[in-house]
């Protein structure tokens, strides 16, 4: 019979719990000191010899997302099934073993998944997730110049204004608009309750809500540098932006952009995309996006698909997925790195299918341009 090793008791528990926290951190679960203290308090309340209760206490106190829960489950089984503490990989610069987070980016909002089997073969499969049909080509992220970055930021701000035109629930002071009775009353306190001057208010335009689906397959390799600058700028300028990288599979990489300057995010992304290659399946990835992250889409969301449109997937499915996406969101923008080239026509099968569902087909070069069309027209190019 397969029996678990005896559970440590007393002082040994503390050192093993510390080892468990270190193991989780090495796997990319951000366990703070406060969470560790919470676990300590929780272990005072639940019987530590009760393995399910101990596991649940760890889940409740240490995890902060569904992805954390999934990681915690398999680390828990791995760690607490062995009599000795599983060593954490060395972190020296030279022989640094990349942890799961470094290899795969920040944990996205995937629902808890079944624990992966603990075999090396599976790890290899995860490494090559973007390019199962082609050898990894890697992405050299050439930095763009500071002046180009500034121009991109200006363009992104213009883009932000354009995608945030609906009136929201926020009110702000305005010279005209509806009378703000509350502010008027408050101001009248200064003049002994006399309503000397009326204050007005107006609705603030709803904030831009952006989802960027970024194709990082092999065919995009030569454009990845400028496109990364564009995606980073959009994430920086528009606060409510979530970024998803796709090729053969899709995953959220917003965490790699969060709070990172362009200079700091660049080398991290370079390492992160080192194993990606060809084999784009846009339809499959859009389907996966809908299933796992469909809840992030609102009627005010703008979806930006950054891709060259070279697709190995089924175009019919792509059409229906894009139709759904268009139906659920405010607008769908396709950024094609070739769109600015002379004589460009959307000739790839994927683009032909996509065109009826797009509000805008743009080129990365369109963003820094000061004079872009005011209204987004379905299927029109930015310049057209």
């Amino acid at each position: 019979m397969n029996r678990s090793p005896p559970f440590p008791t007393g002082a040994r528990v503390l050192s093993r719990v510390q080892g468990f926290l270190d193991r989780l951190r090495a796997e990319g679960v951000q366990v703070g000191v406060a969470a560790g203290v919470d676990l300590g308090h929780a272990l005072d309340l639940v019987p530590t010899l009760d393995r399910p209760a101990f596991r649940e206490s760890c889940r409740v106190t240490l995890a902060k997302s569904p992805a954390d829960l999934a990681k915690l489950d398999w680390v828990f089984d791995e760690y607490w099934s062995s009599p000795a503490t599983v060593p954490v990989p060395p972190a020296s610069e030279e022989g640094k073993v990349p942890n799961r987070r470094e290899r795969r980016g920040s944990p996205g909002p995937m629902p808890p998944r079944a624990r992966p089997p603990r075999t090396e073969e599976v790890r290899e499969m995860i490494e090559g997730r973007y390019s199962p049909r082609a050898p990894p080509t890697g992405h050299a992220l050439a930095p763009v110049s500071p002046s180009e970055l500034r121009r991109l930021r200006s363009g992104a701000r213009r883009f932000r204004r354009r995608v945030a035109t609906l009136p929201g629930r926020h009110w702000h002071r305005a010279p005209t608009g509806t009378i703000d009775l509350r502010r008027t009353a408050r101001r009248s306190l200064r003049t002994g309750g006399e309503w000397v001057e009326l204050s007005h208010r107006d609705r603030t335009a709803r904030r831009a809500d952006l989802v960027v689906l970024w194709d990082v397959s092999g065919s995009m390799r030569e454009h990845t540098g400028p496109l990364f600058a564009l995606v980073h700028t959009l994430h920086r300028v528009i606060r409510r932006t979530r970024v998803f990288a796709f090729g053969h599979e899709i995953e959220e990489v917003s965490g790699l952009f969060q709070g990172q300057s362009y200079a700091r995010a660049l080398p991290e992304l370079t390492g992160r995309l080192a194993g990606t290659g060809g084999g784009t399946q846009i339809a499959h990835c859009l389907g996966e996006f809908r299933r796992h992250w469909g809840a992030v889409l609102r009627s005010s969301t703008t979806v930006v698909i950054v891709s060259d449109g070279w697709d190995l997937g089924e175009t019919e499915v792509l059409g229906s997925e894009l139709e759904r996406l268009r139906h659920q969101t405010a607008q769908v923008v396709w950024v094609n790195p070739y769109a600015a080239e002379k004589g460009f026509v959307p000739a790839t099968a994927a683009l032909k299918v996509a065109l009826p569902f797009l509000d805008l087909l743009a080129s990365p070069a369109d963003f820094p341009r000061p004079h872009a069309p005011r209204h987004l027209g379905r299927g029109r190019s930015w310049a057209g």
Partner: protein
């Protein structure tokens, strides 16, 4: 560990939480019960994320009902601010007070008077902090992901210190720490600061057996075999990859109640077609699940 007060209804164990919630007809698994128990005993807010309609809000209601506590609910939305969630001055009454006493009081006296607690309109967060009594109130901050990031900042002081600062009055501290339940549908990622202050639980779609149990508890008039049929069908429907919006438990309950009201005793193609709108809330989903697909789902084992 300090001796923290807990609600008498929950005793001192996870099992007691499960029993208490079970009496309120809330079907809870051990994981979520542990989360609730620790939130009660550690006096930490509990953040519950998960699929829509799977019981995140219900657990707060059940906890309040089980302990006989007051449920104070704050529904979040875009633009929610301090005046709607924390407190606001009662300006009309302040004006009236000024008018009434402008002749017999000095300006300083009037100012002190109109900025006293008498003129404070208490919103849900402040009401939860001011709760006094033997039972801790339950504060439900629902769908936090709908609120702005700035509102999360406002919550930090409330959730970590259980106090708020009103500049004109001072700091108001909770005498009885409320049991705080926050829910999120994950339409956006919540900030790390708020997550750090909370315990965490995730509620996914239930298993078939659990869904049958929920149906039986919530709809006592539903025969066992019919509950199994309904749960099985919903489980198969949820498994369809092309659905834009998967039905949650709330939809299952509504659907089962509707079928009962129509006098159905088992799933028939006609009644399913007529009532499918209670399960599928997306026009495209409804359109794509026409007769043939429904029949194949009904026929599946």
């Amino acid at each position: 560990m300090t001796d923290v007060p807990s609600s008498p209804a929950f005793g001192g164990s996870v099992e007691a939480v499960m029993e208490a919630l079970s009496r309120e007809r809330y079907v809870i698994d051990r994981g979520l019960a542990t989360a609730a128990f620790l939130a009660i005993r550690l006096e930490k807010p509990l953040l519950i994320e998960g699929e829509p309609g799977c019981g995140k809000t219900e657990i707060a209601k059940a906890l309040a009902a089980a302990s006989g506590a007051e449920l104070i609910r704050l529904q979040c939305y875009e633009g929610l601010d301090a005046s709607a969630s924390l407190y606001e001055w009662d300006y009309p009454r302040q004006l009236l007070e000024i008018r009434l006493h402008e002749r017999d009081r000095t300006t300083a006296q009037l100012e002190t008077e109109i900025y006293s607690e008498r003129f404070l309109l208490r919103r849900p967060l402040l009401r939860a902090l001011e709760g006094r009594g033997p039972v801790r109130p339950v504060l439900l901050i629902d769908e936090l992901d709908r609120a702005d990031e700035e509102f999360e900042g406002l919550l930090l002081e409330v959730l970590s210190e259980f106090q708020v600062t009103v500049p004109e009055i001072g700091t108001i501290r909770a005498t009885t720490i409320p049991l705080v339940i926050l829910t999120s549908n994950r339409t956006r990622e919540l900030g790390d600061a708020i997550k750090r202050r909370c315990l965490y639980a995730y509620i996914g779609y239930p298993t078939a057996d659990k869904e049958v149990e929920i149906l039986r508890r919530r709809l006592p008039g539903l025969p066992e075999h019919f509950a199994r049929e309904i749960a099985g069908f919903v489980q198969r429907l949820r498994g369809q990859e092309d659905l834009a919006k998967r039905p949650g438990v709330a939809e299952t309950l509504d659907w089962a109640a509707a079928l009962l009201a129509l006098g159905e005793g088992s799933l028939r193609s006609v009644s399913v077609t007529e009532t499918l709108g209670l399960l599928l809330k997306d026009a495209r989903d409804l359109e794509s699940y026409r007769q043939e697909r429904l029949d194949s789902l009904l026929a599946a084992p």
